[in-house]
C-alpha cells in the first residue's frame, strides 16, 4: 500500500496562457526584488561621488548592463500589467475562459510594448 507511485503532474500537464502568465508573475516578482536592490546600489554609488558613479555607468553601458536594464524594464512592465489583471480578477471580473486568454495575451504583448515605449521615450527618439 505504502509503495503506491505518485501520478505525474507538472511533467505532463499542458501549459496555457493563464498558467504561463501566473508562473511568469512569480518569476518577475523575484527578479524585481533583486532589481530594486540593484537600483539602490546605483543610487548609493551616485551619492559617493563622480568616480564611483563612473564605475557603475561603465558597467551599465556594457552589453551585460544593457541586457540587465532592458530585462528589468520588461520585468517591471510585466509585473505591473499582470498585477492589474489580478486586481480586476479580485473584483470578480474576467473569469470567462475567452477573457482570461485575451487578458493574458494583453499582459504578455503589453509588457513587450511598454518596454519598447520606455526606450523610445528614454532615448529621446520621439
Amino acid at each position: 500500500m505504502e509503495n503506491r507511485p505518485l501520478s505525474p503532474h507538472i511533467q505532463i500537464y499542458k501549459w496555457h496562457i493563464s498558467s504561463l502568465v501566473s508562473i511568469s508573475h512569480r518569476i518577475t516578482g523575484i527578479i524585481n526584488f533583486f532589481a530594486i536592490t540593484l537600483i539602490c546600489i546605483w543610487f548609493a554609488f551616485m551619492l559617493l561621488g563622480e568616480s564611483e558613479y563612473q564605475t557603475i555607468k561603465i558597467f551599465l553601458e556594457s552589453f551585460l548592463g544593457k541586457f540587465i536594464l532592458i530585462g528589468i524594464t520588461w520585468s517591471f512592465s510585466f509585473q505591473m500589467l499582470s498585477e492589474i489583471r489580478h486586481l480586476i480578477m479580485d473584483l470578480g471580473y474576467g473569469f470567462e475562459l475567452q477573457t482570461t486568454k485575451i487578458t493574458g495575451l494583453l499582459v504578455i504583448f503589453g509588457s513587450i510594448f511598454l518596454t519598447i515605449l520606455v526606450y523610445i521615450f528614454g532615448r529621446g527618439v520621439i
Binding site: R4, L6, S7, I10, Q11, S18, M89, E96
Partner: protein, 259 residues
C-alpha cells in the same frame, strides 16, 4: 511543498509495445500509464496501435476497444459514458477531462493517457481520491436550516435559485482539483477548486442558515488563499463550470463582509 520531480518509486519507464494485428491503415498510437500493485515493478508506459476505422469518436471508446480487443489487463474507471457520473476523469493529452466526452479527433499526434495528476495511484489509470472526499466532507455539503420543521417546504425565489447555477452541476470528477498546481503542492491543506466550488454552493444558498459559519470555516490562509488564479481548474472542467470565479467570489465576500 513544491516538488518538481517525481519520487523514485514513481519514475516512469517504457513498457510494452502492442503492434496492430488487424492490418488497418488508419492507425493511432495510444500511450497509457500502467502500474500493477501486485508486482514490485514501477510504473511504465505501454503503447498500443489502435485501428481507428472501427472505433467510435471518444477517448473512452479507445480504452474500451483496447480492453476488449488488445489487452484486457488495462484498468480504468467508467460508468455512464455520458459525462454525468465523473468516473472516467483522467489526464488526456496533457489536460484533465472525462474520457467519455473528449473526442480523440481533437488530440494531435499520439494520444497520451495518464491518471489524474499528483495522486497516489491504485492501479493503472485509477488515482486515490480519498483525500479529496475527506475535504468535501469537511465543508459539510448539506442544507443546514434550524428554524423550519423538517416537514415544511423551504421556499426559494427564482433569483436565489439562479445563483446556484454553475455550482450545483458539479459532478465531483476531480478534474479541476488535480489540475491545480497549488493543490499539487498543498493538497493536504488547501481545499482545492472542486471542494471550494461546493463550499460556495452552500454559502450562497438562500435556504441555508449557516452562511457565516461556513464562510468563517473556509477563511484560512491555506484552505482558501492558496488559490493564485492559475485557472487550470476552469480550463479543465468538463462541465464548463468556473471554480476559479467561485473562489474569487468567496474571497470577495470575506473581504467585504463582517465575518
Amino acid at each position: 511543498m513544491v516538488q518538481l520531480s517525481l519520487p523514485k518509486n514513481s519514475e516512469i519507464k517504457k513498457g510494452k509495445y502492442f503492434k496492430d494485428k488487424t492490418g488497418s491503415k488508419n492507425l493511432r498510437k495510444v500511450n497509457i500509464y500502467r502500474w500493477d500493485p501486485s508486482t514490485d515493478e514501477g510504473p511504465r508506459i505501454d503503447t498500443y496501435e489502435v485501428d481507428m476505422d472501427n472505433c467510435p469518436s471518444k477517448v473512452l471508446d479507445i480504452l474500451n476497444k483496447i480492453k476488449n480487443e488488445i489487452d484486457s489487463t488495462i484498468t480504468y474507471r467508467r460508468s455512464c459514458a455520458h459525462g454525468v457520473c465523473g468516473s472516467c476523469a483522467m489526464n488526456i493529452g496533457g489536460k484533465n477531462g472525462l474520457a467519455c466526452t473528449t473526442p480523440h479527433a481533437e488530440i494531435e499526434g499520439d494520444i497520451d493517457i495518464y491518471p489524474l495528476p499528483h495522486l497516489k495511484v491504485k492501479k493503472d489509470l485509477i488515482g486515490d481520491l480519498d483525500g479529496l472526499y475527506k475535504q468535501y466532507q469537511s465543508i459539510e455539503p448539506w442544507l443546514k436550516n434550524n428554524s423550519t420543521k423538517e416537514t415544511t417546504e423551504i421556499y426559494q425565489s427564482k433569483e436565489d435559485r439562479a445563483k446556484l447555477d454553475g455550482a450545483y452541476e458539479c459532478i465531483m470528477c476531480a478534474c479541476c482539483s488535480t489540475s491545480c498546481p497549488s493543490y499539487w503542492w498543498n493538497g493536504d491543506k488547501y481545499l482545492g477548486p472542486a471542494v471550494l466550488l461546493q463550499a460556495y454552493r452552500w454559502i450562497i444558498d438562500s435556504r441555508d442558515e449557516e452562511r457565516k459559519a461556513r464562510l468563517k470555516k473556509v477563511a484560512d490562509e491555506l484552505k482558501l488563499y492558496r488559490c493564485h488564479t492559475i485557472l487550470n481548474c476552469t480550463n479543465a472542467c468538463p462541465k464548463g463550470l468556473n471554480p476559479a470565479k467561485a473562489i474569487a467570489e468567496i474571497k470577495k465576500m470575506l473581504a467585504t463582509a463582517n465575518v
